[in-house]
């Protein structure tokens, strides 16, 4: 059987679901962890293989098209790193099941070619954090109100598809899902209430970007997109500013995500070839950089519990690998040269110059604020007097694998920027063509 004859797309989509069913029967966390890691690794391999079948792999309503091809391995890697970064003490079989379901939702949504399936998957995705919050006995009312509104707007918008009102409702729904101001209140609360891993796989795949690209472009009225782009711009700066003043690591991370998501959404809302190319590139780089950053934070939390940014903890001497990981991924997320984020951020800021220099200036300010927030958090976490501990806090073998993977992705990813930009530019142009993007299988 030749490589191309193997149904990689079907395998990629089926594996997480089958894995979730199997893992649900495990009794011990260790078994669940090992099985989940095996499934996620297999998903990553099959997703990478499916990526090479771009244009050829079609399965019912799902296909590996230009948009989906690079995102499949990225999303698979994101989920694998989330699993790798979860401490054994915090794993439960149900946590693994939730992560596997979330992986299925993301992978299925990105390959889905039909609007209603995307809508359904977005709604299913909302249930995963809800399940987690309930399971942990945390307050869910705020999350429910926001996500109830999201689902309502999404369903109403998809019912009125083709009309201005429909697009408006869909746009509002996706802005809410992305945490764009003023409907962003659920995001910091989610990071504080839910398990870190669950919040990550809900927020970091940036499904709202996918939905915006699939459901809104290119037909949404221009004035709506313009208004949304202003909101995104404001959110990017707001998130950066808020990240700087946070005293808790989780809220810092939530606000950083808010700002980064807003930057990507801004690129989409520009609905220009340049802006959309930048957004699609930034989607990849931001997701990977932020998952790396979260990886370090979670590993620290596993050792030292909830972390504050009020004082200096001095963790560098204990876990230098995590310090390096934190710094390089944080800097990659703000577009530091030589990392995976440099070219996308340059593209976004340059691509926005058509809208006026003040727009580029605002984006640069947002990136600056995020950079300051990251350095402040780095200094707070990794500098200061080293804590004295009676047990070894050195990184575990699984963490070491995660750090190596992240470091390679952050630096080597930068070298692949030209080909990625070229393919994303091609995709962006296709997405902006005034054609109906609903090929039936």
């Amino acid at each position: 059987m030749s490589f191309f004859a193997i149904p990689w797309l079907e395998i990629t989509l089926a594996l997480p679901l089958v894995g979730a069913v199997v893992v649900a029967f495990f009794k011990t966390p260790t078994e669940a962890l090992h099985a989940s890691l095996a499934v996620f690794t297999a998903v990553l391999l099959s997703a990478t293989a499916a990526c090479f079948q771009q244009g050829a792999a079609v399965w019912g309503h799902f296909a590996v098209d230009d948009l989906a091809a690079p995102m499949l391995p990225v999303l698979a890697l994101l989920h694998l790193l989330t699993m790798l970064g979860t401490a054994k003490s915090r794993v439960s079989p149900m946590f693994c099941v939730r992560l596997l379901i979330a992986a299925f939702v993301s992978l299925a949504a990105v390959t889905s070619q039909t609007s209603w399936i995307i809508v359904v998957l977005l709604i299913v995705g909302v249930l995963v954090p809800f399940w987690d919050l309930l399971n942990r006995g945390r307050a869910v009312r705020g999350y429910l109100i926001h996500m109830g509104l999201f689902v309502g707007l999404l369903v109403a918008g998809s019912q009125l598809e083709g009309s201005s009102l429909g697009y408006g409702l869909l746009l509002a729904a996706l802005l809410l899902r992305g945490g764009i101001l003023p409907l962003h209140g659920w995001l910091p609360t989610l990071f504080q209430g839910a398990a870190y891993g669950t919040a990550m796989v809900f927020v970091l795949p940036l499904m709202e970007v996918l939905a915006a690209v699939r459901l809104l472009l290119p037909s949404t009225p221009e004035w709506m997109l313009n208004a949304a782009s202003v909101l995104c711009l404001v959110t990017a700066v707001y998130g950066g500013g808020m990240a700087i003043v946070q005293n808790e690591v989780r809220k810092f991370f939530a606000n950083l995500c808010l700002s980064q998501t807003a930057l990507v959404m801004f690129g989409v809302m520009l609905h220009t070839s340049n802006g959309l190319t930048a957004a699609l590139c930034l989607w990849i780089s931001s997701s990977l950089a932020l998952v790396g950053l979260a990886f370090s934070v979670r590993s620290l939390e596993a050792r030292f519990g909830a972390l504050s940014l009020r004082e200096h903890h001095g963790f560098y001497e204990q876990v230098p690998g995590l310090a390096v990981c934190f710094l390089i991924t944080g800097l990659a997320s703000v577009g530091f040269p030589g990392t995976i984020g440099f070219v996308p951020m340059e593209l976004l800021i340059s691509g926005s110059a058509d809208q006026g220099l003040w727009v580029s200036f605002t984006l640069a300010i947002a990136a600056m604020l995020n950079g300051i927030a990251i350095m402040r958090a780095y200094f707070a976490l990794f500098t200061g007097k080293r804590p004295t501990t009676s047990v070894s806090l050195r990184k575990t073998p699984l963490e070491r694998v995660g750090i190596v993977v992240i470091a390679l992705v952050v630096f080597l990813g930068g070298w692949f920027s030209p080909s990625v930009v070229s393919s994303r530019h091609h995709t962006a142009d296709k997405l902006l063509e005034p054609a109906v993007l609903e090929p039936q299988p």
Partner: protein, 453 residues
């Protein structure tokens, strides 16, 4: 017979490639979870810098012998879309090779010095990783022929600088000061980023030769006139002011002295502090686009110089005194650039960097040197020089003293008018957000159950 000028491209790539190799070695060591011994680190550092320096000297020799004024080295178009063009390109010319050789010579000296100075210091390896990053950043910025290449080097220099300020990170003040410097750097990097975008808007590319013509530095095409070029010039000046600690960003300079002496020498005595001046030299034709811009640059340089002179007079530690002495000269170099004396500014920059590095490196043994001197001459050295301040009225002397002691109130002004309102605004917003979230959740955060692990 092969034309020797054909060797210029490989030599230029070797100059940049060796620091990349150096960082690559450290990266591989990190990935494999190994540690390099001090001896190995010293050898690798010295070898890579030596090879890079040899390549730079050879390139200079070939260019002088063959009367080649400039030699561009293109790494190809990194990113091309119909609307955007990102290119990494280097250039070998008088300015770039002079600064690159200065960098390599001083880094070789500092590298050799540091292997002994930091012997058995915790963080020895970390120091040299950051040193390698700095070296790559400096070489990249020196040889850059596009604003993106310059920006990449510029950022690497900034990051390594900040992390070296926080090198002794067990004490609270180094990281705190490092963060302050980072904030100023990031603020001024915004200006450089905007300048890059404006260059793309004006020329469709970030190449310096598109901007000022393809003649070898310091010659350039006829003057660039227009408000866009003035704005571009202002952005470059802001970027340079941040990196070179010009007024009003001078407050970070004494804070940067928290790092180890070798890094202080190479950063704030020699290379990093001159990077702003180097930038202005590279884009000096843009400064010529407006007489007002030139005047502003001269005034900025002179004001910085006067301020640094005053502040330097009241410093009580040798490193801060040297830092302000450096700044005094940097101010004069900036004024020279504003006046259009480019060769003079370059010569001044090169000579000053070497002198100041030597002074910084001798700083830890200052008392020992003084004792030797006193023993040799049998008495205390006589204080010489004109203390012109003593001729001023007493009230003015006191005011100047306080002004100098408070470093021109620059830090407190930035803190009072920028930092505090910013933090107050966002803390207020954070409180509002928390109240709103609690309202929606229906219960105050304080009463929530402890976090489930």
């Amino acid at each position: 017979m092969t034309d020797p000028t054909q060797l210029l491209t490989p030599l230029g790539l070797t100059i940049v490639g060796m620091p990349v190799f150096l960082l690559g070695v450290f990266f591989a060591v990190f990935l494999t979870n190994k540690h390099l011994g001090e001896e190995w680190i010293g050898k690798i550092i010295q070898t890579t810098i030596a090879v890079s320096l040899l390549a730079a000297v050879s390139a200079s020799g070939i260019m002088l012998w063959n009367r080649v004024a400039q030699h561009p080295i293109s790494l190809g178009d990194w990113v091309i879309t119909p609307h955007y063009h990102l290119k990494f390109e280097f250039v070998l010319d008088l300015l770039s090779l002079s600064y690159a050789m200065l960098t390599l010579v001083l880094c070789a000296v500092i590298g050799a010095f540091s292997t002994r100075y930091l012997h058995r210091e915790r963080g020895y390896e970390r120091f040299f990783v950051l040193f390698a990053l700095f070296l790559l950043g400096m070489v990249t910025a020196s040889l850059s022929d596009t604003v993106e290449t310059l920006f990449a080097g510029w950022e690497m220099v900034g990051l390594s600088s900040v992390l070296l300020i926080a090198f002794f990170h067990e004490r609270p003040s180094p990281p705190r000061n490092g963060l302050r410097v980072w904030i100023v750097y990031r603020l001024c990097d915004v200006a450089l980023l905007l300048a890059a975008i404006l260059m793309h808007e004006l020329n469709g590319a970030g190449d310096f030769d598109h901007l000022v013509g393809d003649k070898a530095w310091p010659a350039h095409d006829p003057l660039l006139i227009g408000p866009h070029f003035t704005v571009l010039g202002v952005l470059f000046v802001i970027a340079a002011a941040g990196k070179s600690a010009l007024v009003p960003f001078s407050g970070w300079l004494p804070r940067a002295m928290e790092g180890p002496t070798p890094s202080s020498a190479v950063f704030y005595g020699a290379l990093s502090v001159h990077l702003g001046a180097f930038l202005l030299l590279r884009v000096s034709p843009v400064l010529d686009s407006s007489i007002w811009l030139q005047v502003a640059v001269v005034v900025l340089g002179l004001v910085t110089s006067a301020f640094a002179y005053l502040a330097g007079r009241v410093q009580t530690d040798i490193k801060s005194a040297l830092a302000f002495a450096s700044l005094t000269q940097v101010g004069i170099i900036i004024a020279e650039i504003g006046l259009g004396f480019r060769y003079l500014a370059l010569l001044h920059l090169l000579g000053h960097a070497c002198l100041r590095t030597l002074q910084f490196l001798r700083a830890p043994s200052l008392l020992h040197d003084h004792h030797q001197l006193e023993n040799a001459i049998g008495s205390r050295p006589r204080e010489e020089g004109v203390l012109w301040e003593q001729k001023l009225p007493l009230a003015t002397q006191r005011w100047l003293y306080r002004f100098a002691l408070e470093r021109g109130y620059l830090d407190s002004m930035l803190e009072k008018w920028v930092a505090r309102p910013f933090v107050a605004l966002f803390r207020g917003l954070d409180k509002l957000e928390t109240k709103w979230a609690n309202l929606l959740d229906g219960e105050p955060k304080a009463k929530e159950a402890p976090r489930k692990l």
